[in-house]
Symmetry: C2
Subunit: 331 residues, 2 copies
């Protein structure tokens, strides 16, 4: 350390002596209702040295679902809008799509018609748009799209459709020594190019669904080529399996919003010691969307029953969140 840095450090240290003893509210977009109190109480207990609930810093792992938990997922998963835009962009190279489902319907703007083919149609769309290029080419495509695409309802970039209370929660947990992970059914390589900037979560802490890749040397340069073959679906039972594979530790806190997160919350709360599980409940049709037990996207049914039975925390968007999106914040 050079002298200037050392002096700066000492000045910082001395300044810290002068800090007021009261703390700034770390979760200002949360109402002072039960969920906020439960979060703060949990964090206090696991971080207080000497407390029976104390957890060493290295073991403070918190996992977050993404769609519907960190950002919105209506009227459909944002990654599906990416796939639709890619179908349009790639169509000139695929004249055969004009006659071939599900692409023909998609290109006419008929999403419902395209999805009549069910899971198989969905898979064909994903593979046609997510495979066949190198990992670096795909990352660049995602970066270009996320920088320019707009949500059909709000006209906002998708990265502004994130939940302000959850951004505060991520920061609050990290300030208390937690390592925050995303564990999403979405594509791992669809998320990694931008999660650092948007959530402060680096690529190595992003877990998701994946397709297989192949190592190849092209013109003397090694590349990884994305193959049209599913590798792993990071949903439901897949979430604890992927957490074990990527992290090798059981989280002490997990956050989700749908039945796809149930097993992650079960796995997290079944560990010994103090554990925390929270479900975001979409109850605000005015500021966001209201959906749950009967929704095809983000269905929250079995997990809500289990939350009630086991005393997990449920954050009711309408009642518990002062602000939903960052763009609602006063300028």
């Amino acid at each position: 350390m050079n002298l200037a840095k050392r002096i700066a450090l000492v000045v910082l240290c001395v300044a810290s002596l002068a800090l007021p003893a009261f703390a700034v509210d770390p979760l200002p977009s949360w109402n002072d209702t039960a969920p906020k109190k439960a979060i703060v109480s949990f964090v206090d207990r696991v971080t207080k040295e000497g407390s029976p609930d104390y957890v060493p810093m290295a073991e403070r792992i918190a996992t977050f679902d993404q769609d519907g938990t960190l950002w919105a997922e209506q009227p459909m998963y944002f990654q599906f809008f990416f796939a639709l835009d890619r179908v349009k962009a790639l169509a000139p190279r695929h004249p055969e799509w004009k006659e071939k489902e599900p692409f023909a319907s998609l290109l006419k703007g008929d999403v419902k018609g395209a999805l009549k083919g069910g899971e198989r149609a969905m898979l064909e769309i994903v593979m046609a748009t997510h495979a066949g290029m190198t990992t670096e080419e795909f990352a660049q495509t995602v970066k270009d799209w996320i920088a320019t695409a707009r949500h059909p309802k709000t006209g906002r970039p998708y990265t502004e459709m994130v939940y302000q209370p959850m951004l505060e929660l991520l920061t609050y947990l990290r300030a208390n020594g937690f390592k925050t992970y995303i564990v999403s059914g979405g594509g791992i390589e669809f998320m990694r190019p931008w999660t650092g900037k948007v959530y402060g979560i680096p690529p190595e802490q992003v877990i998701g669904s994946s397709i297989k890749t192949k190592f190849e040397v092209r013109d003397g340069k090694p590349v990884l080529v994305r193959l049209p073959e599913i590798d792993f679906i990071d949903d439901k039972e897949g979430k604890p399996i992927a957490i074990n594979q990527h992290v090798g530790r059981r989280p002490i806190a997990a956050f989700g919003n749908s039945d796809g997160d149930l097993q992650m919350l079960q796995w997290t709360t079944a560990g010994s010691g103090t554990r925390f599980a929270l479900l975001v409940h979409h109850t605000d049709a005015e500021r966001e969307w209201a959906y749950g037990r009967a929704s095809s996207i983000g269905r929250l049914d079995m997990a809500l029953d289990e939350a009630q039975a086991k005393g997990w925390t449920v954050a009711d968007m309408k009642n518990d969140w002062k602000i939903i999106f960052p763009f609602e914040l006063p300028k």
Copy 2:
């Protein structure tokens, strides 16, 4: 922060002003030959702010093979000794093994005979000893074994058969803001229970081969059960694939010792900016083992040619390492 802590911090800060300007040798077990100079020069360049080779801390990823790079691998991979010990321990529960290869030969102490069945025999031994229990049960079995098993030649615990120069290198890189990963052909769940203690590498930075797991709720408690089915082989082309999957960033430095590491080193050095690749060459029959181009374990042939062609660093154990194992250090 309470007052006592703040005062302690200020004292620490002021003390740092008084530190001497010269540095202690961070790699005392390395001779002052070319490899050590190459390592130090690389680290200086990527960490010096304003240098054209500067790499931000978040991107300082270094990956290490394990067998033959961080610990020894002769007379055979240590994980195979674990499997043999497990066959013996499990034999009373498997009376049929007395008549069934490869177990019958193993139980008579005839490893060569057991391995006559080739890859299929090896796979049967691995599955019989590594699958069929929960992840937590397996981790406990590994912990018990690693605490008590002894190397057949040295009589030392396997965790003492690690390379002192590589331990110093791991510490040196981390002190310079690197995140150090293990990327091994060995089993990911065989390594994770002890790599934190031995190498300072936490489970989430350990990548390896894996078998599939299944999420199950047993008596109301969720568990992950290890299945007798290969999930991923983290060797050769598998290493860059797994690094991409787990880390999502290309390393800037990679360390290996065999042809199994070739693709990891190719992938690492093909990135833009300054990159570093090093091979440990086992040349010391007296203090360790001497093997390479013709060895069935840790064969170093194609990778050695490529190192010479591309100017990668080769650490010759006999000439470049003062000390091999920590137990050689003066008390």
